[in-house]
């Protein structure tokens, strides 16, 4: 079985009904997609299959034979972060980081298909990705920023628009 993963052609040895998630993590050592639920319910396993977000935990590898699979490892590196990765860093959209890989790929696909900075549209596009840490606010901030084509200074993190600091005791 053949599969292209992050631009590299791979020959897959696992059984055809092995999930794409297990093939990536266990056979190929690509660990950015996470095992969150294996029920398709959380989005942590999301990868791009020919550019479209798909739940790797519910995908039999045989079903994606010949496809181009993209994971976070394929969208940027520490020396060359993609816009989505920069935005997630600057807007502090990751706390524990476990949902982050799936979240960023969903965001990547959203922006690629022309998604705007409309917050409701972003919420709808990413619905079904569960985050327990962030409360979603900064994830939406990050995706909106990418949609607007903003540049990011990743040496600092952004302030939340809904916050006011009153200073000392009133």
């Amino acid at each position: 079985m053949n599969l292209t993963v992050n631009g590299i052609a791979r020959e897959i040895e696992s059984a055809p009904l092995t999930t794409l998630l297990d093939v990536l993590r266990e056979e190929l050592g690509v660990t950015s997609p996470k095992v969150g639920c294996e029920q398709g319910g959380c989005g942590s396993c999301t990868v791009l299959v020919d550019g479209e977000p798909q739940r790797a935990c519910l995908t039999a590898v045989a079903a994606v034979e010949g496809a181009e699979v993209t994971t976070v490892e394929g969208i940027g590196t520490a020396d060359s972060l993609s816009a989505v990765q920069q935005a997630f860093t600057h807007h502090y959209a990751a706390q524990c980081g476990f949902c982050t890989s799936g979240m960023m790929l969903a965001a990547e696909a959203y922006v690629q298909r022309g998604g705007t900075d409309d917050r409701e549209a972003i919420q709808e596009a990413l619905a079904g990705h569960v985050c327990r840490c962030t409360g979603y606010v900064k994830i939406i901030d990050a995706v909106a920023a990418v949609a607007r084509g903003e540049e990011f200074d990743i040496t600092v993190t952004a302030a939340s628009p809904g916050m006011t600091n009153l200073g000392g005791v009133q």
């Binding site: 993590r25 050592g29 660990t31 950015s32 996470k34 095992v35 969150g36 639920c37 294996e38 029920q39 319910g41 959380c42 942590s44 994971t71 976070v72 490892e73 940027g76 590196t77 520490a78 972060l81 990765q85 997630f88 860093t89 600057h90 502090y92 990751a94 524990c96 980081g97 476990f98 949902c99 982050t100 890989s101 960023m104 569960v130 985050c131 327990r132 840490c133 990743i154 040496t155 600092v156 993190t157 952004a158 302030a159 006011t164 009153l166 005791v169 009133q170």
Partner: protein, 456 residues
């Protein structure tokens, strides 16, 4: 200040966005075995005939453990705080909650491990479970714990956590109104995106390396060391990077079992819970039952509070006595109430043991007392901000346990909230501050109750 107060990027930010952060399940060690557990299908049952021989004989199975393999079967995680042990690592003779682990199998792959679990022989005799904490004290309630149905080992072997201050009888007598209500927040799950997981590697020199998702490396190391009866340097706990915890990854739910399996098999052993196990078998936030009766004046002073708390500990104590104690210390919330009668019980039921979750002990009391405060305002026809500002603790007031408040911020946060909501407070209230009550601001009911400012 250069670093403090600055919006510096996360230390682990780049790792997170490049998918390079290493969680326990990302650690790959050749030869790692998969683990599956035989779990109780019943809420309450005795069992016999536990037979692991067929499982052990299966090709691909490298180790099976039961209670007999555990050097110290019961270890109280908070025994240092005086909470004795009550829970076996693996069930012996009986099960007290659905999902309780009875035996574990380490095998070459997941399917083999699962098949081996299904080959373990066991016979159950179901018993009537106790599920309603309000019924736990009744004579005809099933007796479900060796200590009785509620925890009896508070200081002085008291069976409750008690707070007493002033005279609640006098408060009720002086009150214009007594407002009573019942509050029942639910058990909820922690729902970390990373489920419970650990990987234990037996090293060449006899040590065990424990890759753990724990929120507390040393705490968990202590638990494993106690169960295995080994000194701390026999173990190396590796972790510190957790895919969400919220209080649910302190219980050390997998590490000891993997350590035993690793020792028995001589192979690295991983146990990663399925999401279903995480939802149905992992410890939860506790359900609570709280009844409050507040003695109030018609102008909104709370003279006294009588409160009964029942904490649903599930099948075993775990950290519940600690949580109830913390709850009792904060049952007046952000206010000063001079007359108090609090009684709290840690009650056992046949459900998954409850544990710490974000706010442990205080989340429940904040829900009860603040909803009650809103009700008081409603019953008396008073403004909800004013009732809170009036009773808000001030510098020099004392807490339920007679500690002097040196630095309370109730007044500033309530006033700031009014400001944020565009609510204009009446002049008397807008002028309030958190400073020590003096002269006109000293309500009658607090005279004689306040500490001398020189004392702190």
């Amino acid at each position: 200040m250069k670093a403090v107060g600055a919006r510096l990027p996360r230390y682990d930010g780049i790792e997170h966005v490049t998918g390079r952060t290493q969680y326990v399940d990302d650690v790959k060690v050749p030869g790692t075995l998969w683990t599956k557990a035989l779990r109780s299908p019943h809420h309450s049952a005795s069992f016999s005939g536990l037979d692991t021989s067929r499982a052990e004989a299966m090709p691909g199975v490298h180790a099976v453990i039961t209670w007999e393999d555990v050097p110290l079967l019961e270890y109280g995680h908070l025994s240092a705080l005086g909470i004795p042990a009550d829970e076996p690592l693996l069930a012996k003779d009986e099960v007290r909650y659905k999902g309780q682990p009875i035996a574990l199998v380490a095998a070459e792959d997941e399917d083999t491990a699962q098949a081996a679990v299904e080959a373990i022989g066991i016979e159950f005799e179901e018993r009537t479970p106790l599920l309603d904490i309000r019924r736990a004290f009744d004579e005809d309630a099933p007796k479900i714990h060796q200590w009785g149905n509620w925890y009896p080992h508070f200081e002085g072997e008291m069976d409750r956590r008690q707070i007493r201050k002033g005279s609640i009888e006098q408060a009720f007598e002086q009150a214009d109104t007594i407002v009573q209500g019942v509050y029942r927040p639910a058990a909820i799950e922690h729902v970390p995106l990373e489920t419970q997981v650990s990987l234990v590697v037996p090293e060449a020199n006899g040590r065990l390396t424990i890759y753990s998702c724990t929120q507390a490396l040393y705490f968990s190391m202590g638990v494993v060391a106690a169960h295995l009866n080994v000194p701390l340097n026999k173990l190396k706990v590796v972790g510190g990077t957790v895919g969400g915890g919220f209080g649910g990854k302190v219980d050390t739910a997998t590490e000891t079992m993997c350590a035993l399996l690793a020792q028995k098999s001589g192979r690295p052993v991983k146990w990663r819970w399925t999401r279903e196990e995480e939802f149905l078998c992992s410890s939860t936030r506790a359900p609570w039952h709280m009844e409050i009766a507040d003695a109030v004046t018609k102008d909104g002073w709370i003279l006294g509070r009588k409160m009964l708390t029942l904490h649903d500990s599930g099948a075993y104590a775990r950290f519940s006595p600690y949580g109830l104690t913390k709850h009792s210390f904060h049952h007046t919330g952000a206010y000063t109430i001079p007359n108090l009668e609090f009684d709290g019980f840690v009650v056992f039921t046949n459900r998954v043991p409850t544990t710490a979750m974000r706010g442990f002990g205080v989340t429940s009391v904040s829900f009860a007392t603040e909803t009650h405060m809103s009700r008081i305002a409603h019953v008396l026809g008073l403004d909800p901000y004013e009732v809170r500002l009036k009773n808000a603790n001030r510098i020099g007031d004392t807490s339920p346990n007679r500690i002097v408040y040196t630095d309370p911020s109730t007044v500033p946060v309530v006033k700031a909230l009014a400001g944020g909501m565009g609510v204009e407070l009446a002049p008397d209230y807008a002028a309030m501050d958190r400073e020590q009550r003096t002269g006109d601001l000293l309500p009658e009911h607090l005279v004689g109750q306040l500490a001398d400012p020189e004392d702190h």
